[in-house]
């Protein structure tokens, strides 16, 4: 049963302290408790973006964030946008005819605000990318894209103000240190599950396969955040978001495929919340961050209250949708060895250009010596029960040249074990593994 906990947050620049139920999402508190009904629940699974609000300036699906996770945060909703006069984005949506049925519009405008606040000089492509997490079924997006592009040039756009507020949530729901988090797990591992970005676990909760009231939040734990270089490795904290990895030159230097993979996950709202640790713990064979970690020889750092251990990423997934993580263990982060001269890429096919689960994905990392591959890693997603490291394919590529590439394509066709499912067919996936392999290798060679 859900209990009540204190939270302190600011909503539209007003400080609010109140009790929220531990099964309430941010969306529920906004809509039901605060009667701010501008954010809509179009799907409850972070797929449509109609519930988009800003959390500390970042666009977030409020259906995929528990209310206590917003403790200490500054929330902006559509209702706070117009201070008497309409915001330039609101004016522009009306002027350009960007509004039809209107149900997606509050979320669309908030996603657009995050974009123009961060990047006032946004290009048309930036706008497309920035709104890729918001579905609209009426407008064909055409007038919406125009509206945002016009508003982005408005002289009336002001710099966003930061609003600070002290957190109030109890530590047993929102631990402030790793030690606290591990203690909660040790004491309550049977009943409580850790939560970070919520982009997988809260989707499952919506389907009833996870219990929303039995989660606790890791995003206040500083020890599992950040990207650092140490001892010849790049360390990425488990609570690092896809957006942070996507923008990190340090990540790109050690695991060049990883930022590319992060950039195509979900839409901006999902990338702003989803974390590396969550992606690993979810253990999907289609997880886009995993093939890049496979080809980087990543080590997963895992801890419980009593012990720490390192697990090579290759051993982390013993079976489909399974990880080696024990119930009382947390992922602390991932360590990627720095290798001089490593080049890599990530390619995938999905059912559409954004917000798609991969049909086939591939990560390739190669170190060339004297123009020939000297060290090769190839891993594929969505073509086997778990992410697959294609060792025969790697061997075939070692020689270099056109013949080697053809042998490698044959090898990868033999190594994958794809199935027919809703997203694609086994035959197509098998052949696309070969097509993407060739494209990835060429891209790396030509880089």
């Amino acid at each position: 049963m859900a209990e009540l906990v204190d939270v302190a947050l600011s909503v539209n620049r007003k400080a609010i302290r109140r009790k929220v139920r531990t099964d309430q999402r941010l969306l529920d508190v906004l809509r039901e408790d605060l009667r701010l009904t501008g954010a809509k629940e179009g799907c409850g699974k972070g797929e449509c973006g109609a519930c988009t609000v800003l959390v500390d300036g970042h666009a977030v699906d409020s259906c995929l964030m528990m209310a206590y996770q917003a403790d200490g945060a500054a929330i902006e909703t559509i209702e706070g946008l117009s201070d008497g006069a309409l915001h330039p984005l609101q004016e522009s949506f009306i002027d350009q005819g960007g509004v039809q049925c209107g149900i997606c519009i509050p979320g669309m405008i908030m996603a657009a605000k995050a974009l123009v606040d961060e990047r006032p000089e946004a290009t048309a492509e930036d706008v497309r990318q920035g709104l890729a997490g918001n579905l609209c079924r009426c407008t064909g997006y055409t007038k919406i894209l125009t509206a945002v592009a016009r508003a982005a040039t408005s002289p009336r756009l002001t710099k966003p103000r930061r609003f600070m507020i002290a957190a109030a949530a109890p530590r047993y729901f929102r631990p402030r240190s790793l030690e606290e988090a591990l203690e909660i797990l040790a004491a309550r591992a049977e009943e409580m599950r850790p939560l970070a970005g919520g982009t997988d676990i809260l989707v499952k909760a919506k389907d009833g396969t996870e219990n929303r009231a039995a989660l606790f939040d890791l995003t206040g734990v500083p020890e599992i955040k950040g990207i650092e270089e140490k001892d010849g490795h790049v360390w990425i904290g488990a609570a690092t978001t896809h957006t942070e990895m996507m923008r990190s030159a340090l990540v790109a230097s050690a695991a060049p495929a990883l930022p590319l993979a992060c950039a195509v996950i979900g839409g901006p709202q999902i990338r702003n919340r989803g974390t590396l640790g969550g992606n690993l713990a979810n253990a999907s064979p289609a997880a886009d961050t995993v093939p890049p970690l496979f080809v980087a020889d990543a080590i997963v750092e895992v801890a419980s209250v009593s012990a720490r251990r390192d697990v090579p990423i290759l051993e982390f997934f013993p079976g489909p949708r399974q990880s080696v993580l024990a119930r009382d263990e947390l992922i602390l982060g991932v360590r990627v060895p720095k290798r001089a001269g490593v080049r890599g890429t990530f390619l995938r096919l999905g059912q559409r250009q954004a917000q798609a689960i991969s049909k086939v994905s591939i990560a390739v990392a190669i170190i060339f010596r004297d123009g020939r591959p000297d060290w090769v890693r190839v891993a594929l997603g969505a073509v086997a029960p778990t992410v697959l490291r294609a060792r025969e394919t790697e061997k075939a590529l070692m020689g270099g040249g056109w013949d080697a590439l053809q042998r490698a394509k044959d090898a990868v066709r033999a190594e994958v074990r794809p199935i027919d499912d809703l997203r694609s067919t086994a035959d197509y996936r098998r052949e696309m593994a070969a097509v993407l392999l060739e494209r990835a290798v060429r891209r790396v060679a030509e880089a």
């Binding site: 009904t37 409850g44 797929e47 609101q90 509004v99 039809q100 149900i103 997490g133 918001n134």
Partner: protein, 740 residues
């Protein structure tokens, strides 16, 4: 005389890009959709649904559920005071299953409870046992078994004789089209509040008068006691035409049973699993033409999967039947169209209404024919295009507002068709470009099959300060009705458009005005408003004469002279005749015309198609507001691209497997090409200020233009949509395979 003189001198408000009156609340987040409406003391409702496609209910025990704390009502078919029936064309659709369930997701029992926890407990405590019956899931099997819901035909000339002529070129094909989900971002939802002996039902809908009939029928009350109010509606596209009658009747029953307000909001998964969809289709077509490209005959066998209940299948099928050969002169025609009953979710209304399926086939045939004749596909269309004075395949002689030739000219010119058709040819690159064309026409309004629903009403009231209130029975569903009707009102009354307020539809304010469908709203409600406005003007003019007063001054003068400034307007379309035995006659009062050119890039290795640009031209008569007009085109085209490339439902044992936005794929911003809307205005004399309808033509002829472009780029022809990468890749592979 003020108004007409002013109007003559001032620029017309019709044709202007005025701001949408409803946009302000929508951008501020203050527009209240049904889920946003707070109702004190409302119970939450849920529906227990069938897990089987076809089964006998052998036990339905709600006793335990009724005893649970917080559960206020549990209803089954036995508890319905009126008829267990949602009135629709064939009256076969129950509010709650009685004895037998006929599709997965069919409603079996209703629960109203104090909160969601009690609701879940109540639903779980209902004991149902089923004896499974063999389901019929395939439309061909249903056809073979004679499970026919509706059938229509067109007979003109002697198609069979012509198709046997050795001097003609004949092409044929069999085409398959999938389910399409409306994917409105707001799911269906209703709130019922007891009122007197009846209820008032608020909700998301297109057709308040349909919901009214369903509620009154289920409660066994007068229509006047079933008051229906549309809330701001988050998209419809046909999906909120027939389907909302079910949740509307269900909440009404619960509200009467408990005496409390009751709220029912469908989850996304529930909405996708049980609400209506576009009918899957199978079309066989043979087309004969002379060697110089004149169409001589067309034979069409059109089959639609209607699902478990007839709902709107007969009229969906009718529209497809009479438009089956496209906007062309065809002297010899034989169309046989059938909709069959299967144990799947009832198919229903969806933008285009039976045309997108058959137009995919018909336009693919035109592209095939052009290829066989070694003709340019545009030239083939021009030769055969319907012009004023021609007859449609139903023998409807077209007199005015036939802008098809200009539509073709404009779309060809804007897209640089001739040059690209040539320059894209014969590339050997890995990614190949192609350009394709398709066209359609669309009968505006309900036509021969819907005459009883055709009239529409409007009440126009001018207040003492000159502001104007307009009540109509049709609805705003995002398409821009409020905007367009405000402009029509202002133009007809001669008042400033800012003074016009179009009310939320409420069945107590206007007589039954039929449904908001069939691209009929601008024409029908627009004419009803013009009728009312003319009456008000007739009352005003003797008073104000040639006084040169402003609108407000004129109204003030009329008020001081005790002139009543309110009127009821009524619009009944011109009489038409149609013979259902031969399929000959005037199927609709007039037609809108459309053509699309689509430019694509096809990846020859992955089979991925990227649409790079679409030009979409439409003759919709006088354009009341170009911005909302373009908005209809851009949105319809993107839905059409989804239909062409990614959208479909997968079913297993009658259960929809992809019931959420992560598995039912609709286009995002990154999937959207540049869409260029081109509006061509051949005025329709009977329409308000010459307007016709525009809501639906944009989606109809998109898919065949995409597959034609894929053929132009990659040399493979897809007779089944969506043209997924898997299907394009398989076609490429089949072509390159060694011939045995």
């Amino acid at each position: 005389m003020l108004c007409s003189h002013e109007a003559a001198a001032a620029p017309m408000i019709v044709g202007q890009r005025i701001r949408r009156p409803d946009a302000l609340d929508k951008v501020k987040g203050s527009a209240l959709y049904i889920e946003d409406v707070a109702v004190a003391g409302a119970l939450v409702a849920g529906v227990l649904r069938s897990p089987h496609a076809h089964a006998r209910i052998t036990r339905l025990d709600v006793f335990a559920a009724r005893t649970l704390p917080g559960v206020q009502a549990v209803l089954t078919a036995a508890d319905i005071p009126g008829k267990n029936l949602i009135p629709m064309i064939q009256n076969d659709w129950p509010v709650l299953a009685e004895g037998v369930v006929r599709h997965v997701g069919e409603a079996v029992a209703l629960v109203a409870a104090e909160d969601r926890e009690a609701l879940a407990a109540g639903l779980a405590a209902i004991k149902v046992e089923y004896e499974k019956l063999p389901p019929r899931l395939d439309m061909e099997e249903a056809l073979a078994a004679g499970e026919i819901l509706a059938q229509w035909k067109v007979r003109r000339g002697e198609a069979e004789v012509a198709l046997a002529r050795p001097d003609l070129v004949v092409v044929e094909g069999t085409y398959h089209t999938p389910y399409q989900e409306h994917a409105y971002i707001e799911t269906n939802g209703m709130v019922a509040i007891p009122e007197g002996p009846g209820v008032v039902v608020h909700g998301s809908m297109q057709c308040p008068f349909y919901v009214q009939k369903a509620v009154a029928s289920a409660l066994g009350c007068d229509l006047s006691h079933a008051r229906i109010v549309q809330t701001v509606t988050g998209g419809g596209f046909g999906g909120k035409e027939d389907a909302p009658s079910a949740p509307g009747a269900q909440v009404a029953l619960l509200a009467r049973a408990t005496g409390r307000p009751v709220r029912l909001i469908l989850t996304r998964e529930e909405d996708m699993a049980v609400m209506s969809k576009r009918h899957p289709g199978r079309i066989r077509m043979r087309t004969a033409a002379t060697r110089d490209g004149h169409l001589v005959a067309c034979e069409v066998d059109y089959l639609l999967d209607g699902g478990a209940y007839a709902t709107l299948s007969p009229v969906v099928l009718f529209r497809g039947t009479v438009h089956a050969c496209g906007p062309y002169r065809v002297p010899n025609v034989k169309v046989d169209a059938r909709a069959v009953r299967t144990n799947t979710v009832p198919s229903g209304a969806f933008r285009g209404f039976g045309e997108p399926q058959v137009v995919f086939a018909c336009e693919s045939q035109m592209d095939r024919l052009a290829e066989r004749l070694e003709m340019d596909p545009l030239a083939l269309r021009r030769i055969n295009a319907l012009r004023p004075g021609d007859e449609t395949i139903t023998g409807h002689k077209l007199t005015t507002s036939v802008g098809f030739e200009e539509v073709l000219d404009k779309v060809a010119e804007a897209s640089d068709w001739a040059k690209k058709r040539e320059s894209f040819r014969g590339h050997s690159a890995l990614v190949r470009r192609g350009i394709g064309l398709a066209a359609c026409y669309y009968g505006v309004g309900l036509g021969a099959m819907g005459k009883h629903l055709n009239p529409a009403g409007a009440n126009v009231v001018v207040a003492a300060d000159g502001s104007v209130t307009v009540a109509v029975g049709t609805t705003e569903i995002g398409q821009g009705m409020i905007t367009v009707l405000s402009q029509i009102t202002a133009e007809a009354l001669g008042c400033p458009v800012e003074l016009v307020k179009v009310m939320d539809p409420d069945t107590s304010r206007v007589p039954d005005s039929g449904p908001t469908v069939a691209s009929r709203t601008t024409v029908m409600s627009g004419n009803a408003i013009r009728d009312a406005a003319a009456k008000i003007r007739a009352a005003m003019e003797p008073v104000i004469a040639d006084s040169g007063l402003s609108w407000r001054e004129a109204v003030h003068l009329c008020v001081t002279r005790q002139v009543g400034l309110a009127a009821h307007g009524w619009s009944v379309p011109p009489t038409t005749t149609f013979d259902l035995e031969t399929g000959q006659g005037e199927a609709y009062i007039c037609y809108s015309w459309s053509a699309n050119v689509v430019e694509v890039e096809v990846d020859m290795e992955t089979g991925e198609t990227r649409v790079t640009k679409v030009w979409s031209a439409h003759d919709t008569g006088r354009v009341i507001n170009p911005t909302t007009g373009e908005g209809q085109v851009e949105g319809g085209v993107l839905q059409g691209l989804g239909y062409a490339l990614v959208e479909e439902h997968a079913l297993r044992d009658g259960r929809i497997l992809n019931d959420q936005f992560s598995t039912y794929i609709i286009p995002t911003t990154l999937d959207t090409p540049e869409i260029k809307a081109i509006l061509v205005e051949h005025e329709f004399p009977w329409g308000p200020f010459g307007a016709k309808g525009l809501g639906e033509t944009p989606i109809i002829a998109v898919a065949p233009a995409v597959t034609a472009a894929i053929h132009h780029a990659a040399g493979v022809r897809l007779d089944r949509i969506p043209a997924t990468p898997e299907r394009v890749w398989a076609a490429l592979r089949a072509r390159s395979a060694p011939r045995g």
